[in-house]
Symmetry: C2
Subunit: 706 residues, 2 copies
Amino acid sequence: MSPLTLSTAFSPRSSQLHPRCLHFLSHSLPIFYKFKSPHSFCPKSQNRPIFLVRNCASITAKPSSQFRKKSADSEQDEKLRSLRELFSKPGIGIDAYIIPSQDAHQSEFIAECYMRRAYISGFTGSAGTAVVTKDKAALWTDGRYFLQAEKQLSSNWILMRAGNYGVPTTSEWLNDVLAPGCRIGIDPFLFSSDAAEELKEAIAKKNHELVYLYDLNLVDEIWKESRPEPPRKPIRVHELTYAGLDVSSKLSSLRSELIDAGCSAIVVSMLDEVSWLLNLRGNDVPNSPVMYAYLIVEIDGAKLFIDDSKVSPEVMDHLKNAGIELRPYESILAEIKNLAAKGAHLWLDTSSVNAAIVNTYEAACDQYSGSLDNKRKNKSEAYGVANGQSGVPTGVYKISPILLAKAVKNQAELEGMRNSHLRDAAALAQFWSWLEEEILKGVLLTEVDVADKLLQFRSMQAGFLDTSFDTISASGANGAIIHYKPNPDSCSIVDVKKMFLLDSGAQYIDGTTDITRTVHFGEPTPRQKECFTRVLQGHIALDQAVFPENTPGFVLDAFARSFLWKIGLDYRHGTGHGVGAALNVHEGPQSISFRFGNMTPLQKGMIVSNEPGYYEDHAFGIRIENLLCVKEMDTPNRFGGIGYLGFEKLTFVPIQNELVELSLLSTAEIDWLNDYHSEVWEKVSPLLDGSARQWLWDNTRPLAKQ
Amino acid sequence: MSPLTLSTAFSPRSSQLHPRCLHFLSHSLPIFYKFKSPHSFCPKSQNRPIFLVRNCASITAKPSSQFRKKSADSEQDEKLRSLRELFSKPGIGIDAYIIPSQDAHQSEFIAECYMRRAYISGFTGSAGTAVVTKDKAALWTDGRYFLQAEKQLSSNWILMRAGNYGVPTTSEWLNDVLAPGCRIGIDPFLFSSDAAEELKEAIAKKNHELVYLYDLNLVDEIWKESRPEPPRKPIRVHELTYAGLDVSSKLSSLRSELIDAGCSAIVVSMLDEVSWLLNLRGNDVPNSPVMYAYLIVEIDGAKLFIDDSKVSPEVMDHLKNAGIELRPYESILAEIKNLAAKGAHLWLDTSSVNAAIVNTYEAACDQYSGSLDNKRKNKSEAYGVANGQSGVPTGVYKISPILLAKAVKNQAELEGMRNSHLRDAAALAQFWSWLEEEILKGVLLTEVDVADKLLQFRSMQAGFLDTSFDTISASGANGAIIHYKPNPDSCSIVDVKKMFLLDSGAQYIDGTTDITRTVHFGEPTPRQKECFTRVLQGHIALDQAVFPENTPGFVLDAFARSFLWKIGLDYRHGTGHGVGAALNVHEGPQSISFRFGNMTPLQKGMIVSNEPGYYEDHAFGIRIENLLCVKEMDTPNRFGGIGYLGFEKLTFVPIQNELVELSLLSTAEIDWLNDYHSEVWEKVSPLLDGSARQWLWDNTRPLAKQ
């Protein structure tokens, strides 16, 4: 999948800790300009690497066709009227309300009942923030969605084209349109603590107060009965065969880290972290096998906050074995207060844990200590807490230790990734074989037909669960729209005379896939071949890279671009993102990107995508994506006494030889392609028969060296 | 020249503005470990890119043979005794005194009279800091100099092996050995303002006070008559043919910047900035054609603070034409006070301007305004000063605007660089031709003999002035010592059976050169050939890089390492440093380094070195260095509507084909080498005759492709 979804997580604000970096970034690489984040409320990652998926840009999972294309103005107006009526209700008393895209866990994919911004504004794009004052309503979104937002917003909404010159941020706009000293309301569950703090600071310039409305979400109040129920899909145990490490071992490592940090408990709020730590998988949101839950791990126990109707007896046993008790999802704040009262020192990752939790804890600590000088001063360090339970409770504000533990895969996770990728490759071979035949027969297929058929092939593979993101099926010029999502009512026919880009992935019981291939069914132009070949050369250069331990991913990014740069071309997205093992298709902390802020070193066992591309507006798009696993290389030397790392390929699907301009490739590059294809045949052909096997044979023949 | 001298300029402290970067840097790339700066007083570059040469690590220009190898203990003790006697003198009253390596201008090369640390301690290495308390004396230096310092320090000195585990910084040590509340003296001229502020903060933890002794340098007091006179070499006009831009034009641009920043004047303190701005060149320090001077440029005038005995009538006219008046060098502080009294807003680059100047200005401003709340709060921004001369004077603390202006060369400067490089190449061809013949004849030549002969050949070239740094002439294992400097008394014979590394450069009237070649006079081992070839491949990859405008140099660094990385090798220095045009051989702000803090984009007209290497301890060293000029590339596309940049070679000296392992090279790499050699022949052969011409012919023959 294109790492552009990662890029939307880049908030200029999140780099404010690096004023110099930011300064140069914003003026330096031109490839930034498209990605100025519209998310005024992206949390600033105090301790986290700053380009994490999790921080913002929730991508709505529902196809837009399930929403009405353009709600009647009157209905939208009615919603705004109802919302504003609530502003003056007792216990509320606000002058404006901010409705972000997020759920309470900063998830990339969210359940429909949490799509409040879409409900209130009518705008269903994945990224956006709605702000409603007593007499104005404005919606911020980025360049990908300007057209869609124009169509979907009623005349009562102002569209804020984020990133365009002169367009204010949400807080700038609020500071501008409100008289000084107003009260601006938010649902504190929907903002990370960092994001809320940042917002509070920004609006304080105009003496506005940020009001946390804990008890009710104003949009839910007006949504009422028509609001979908929160998801209650059953959760399941993620078998040890795939997880590789049992829950007790994971908890035990985590507890060691808590003790080392002088903490008595940690609040885990990211859904994939809860799933990974407990070896559980859910089905509450599309594309990600997770369930809505919070987890609190103490030194001597753990509590899972979840709707218990999702918990089968088997899962209950699994949890009991690991010493985990159940609590209602809604009781999280009550437990936070209890912990503060007990004097617990909580580890809180304020870049992901929501403001409701962090503020409740801090307020309870203040109450407990009877003092107000108990605020966090230095988020990155514990305050020399000698003993986890003694003294005045204080938070330890650090990046979640689960983030890195989850990113570095163990052998069982890697085995699951390898196996699921082979089955995925088999499905793709069947699909491409079918598609080529249909297209060449002259059958008219739309981009959506094609995506549906792909889903069908994948569904037949063992352990298939879901797609891992919405399939990007793009013919011709649509391929140049990096986040293209075909709409059944308006999408294109897959044209035999044009290039076709297909970026898709799946969730299997044992792994998560993400692959892009670009093909031409007819005769590509020399231009298309040259661009494709240079993208391929970048792909090969990154695939073949060897680098010392402790190298951050961005150091390798230029390898993937250098062949395009030679002829003055480039692409406006990162080259690689992390991928979970039978978990989220986007995960941190590592990345391979031209943005230099993510200093996380690539480590053995991490998974990254390798997906350089090139996009020619109104013409075609090219992307070649494999998933890679970071492995130790057996280099003949180990200069500096350290290890050297490289990549193992996980993806085994042919790259179209017909698009390769052979004269541009070096012998070593031709060898790479031939070796890859020979490995594809070897690994995937046993899973195929009939025409798909023939197609694989035809498409893995070596290119002759010139 | 090896950019390691740049690396010594890296102070962990100087990154404190990037807490996250620092965190990861210090734990990430192992290639850092050798470079933890011993310079506790490296200024933290508030506004400057952080890896500037200027900030520290003065390299003493005098060959160590001119100092006594090991001063008699008694003489050193006598010096310490005299120094300590001064501590209790009226108007002094200190408990410790810090003697850094620097002069008052943060120069890389300094005049002998300013080598106070060498005088007081007996340690003559280029980098070090001496600290003397009433009963202790300690000297900090880094790994390059441990052996030398052990030999040179008397038993009264404690050697602090900076970078070794557990070795404190100077301020940590002072905080440790002194009772709380002591007075620690410094000469405020020898510390940048940033460095002094940082020191002040560090020792405040133990309640110590930093005492600025403006009126006398305590070392000079005891040095007395034996102290060399300050240099008074005549200065000369740097002809417009070479400078390309007259002084009035340069001043006019500078004044526009002053006005834009709301300033009424700027204090220029870096010697190369004064020289560049005034189109003057001096001869006060070895290797750099500069003269000791400060310059103050006001909106309507300018004053040069200099010993007027250096100023010939011709130079006087040149200065008068540009409206520049002379003032005595020593009157700088008086003028600073005058300016404050006039209400002038001074632009001060606190990373280079010394603490004496900045503090004098601030104190005078306080006095002028009668208030004490006039301290700088935000160094990076002017305080909304509406008018350069009105209101309470305040400093504008920003990076010097001359830094970038000087780094981006104009056509005349580039032409001078090109021409001087061809003459330098001719001298090198004569030298290599001579050396090869002598060595193969069996003549025994030491590393110093060889360096002397090289100087002789260069001296015969038109416009030759000086070496641009001390020649690194290293046979065999000495080549693995990155900063090796042969000592006439102890250096090696250049061995026909070993590799020989020669890194040298020259100052010409029209340009500055810096080149490294590594050769073998006999039969290299397969290991040596493989390493040499991989270094060469990195050199070629960087040379051939094409990249979008606004790319910082570090993005390209991995290109130069990737071939070594493949077999688990690396080198522990950056790949490229900036070079002045007939000025300092090291200049900022750009660099090409694995350290990611320098975000300065490479710009058309900048000059950088391309010098990957590989060093096998106790065996051999390899470095291949050319100078490059950043040029615009005529790419067939300009994606993003911006320009794409690449490099033009300035250096034209053969690379030894005998060290190339042909089987490792791609066709394109062989073409590069053959094309380069053909260009070398074409450009340099017209300047040669006889055996040197024959040598050039022999050494520019194409390698056959395999």
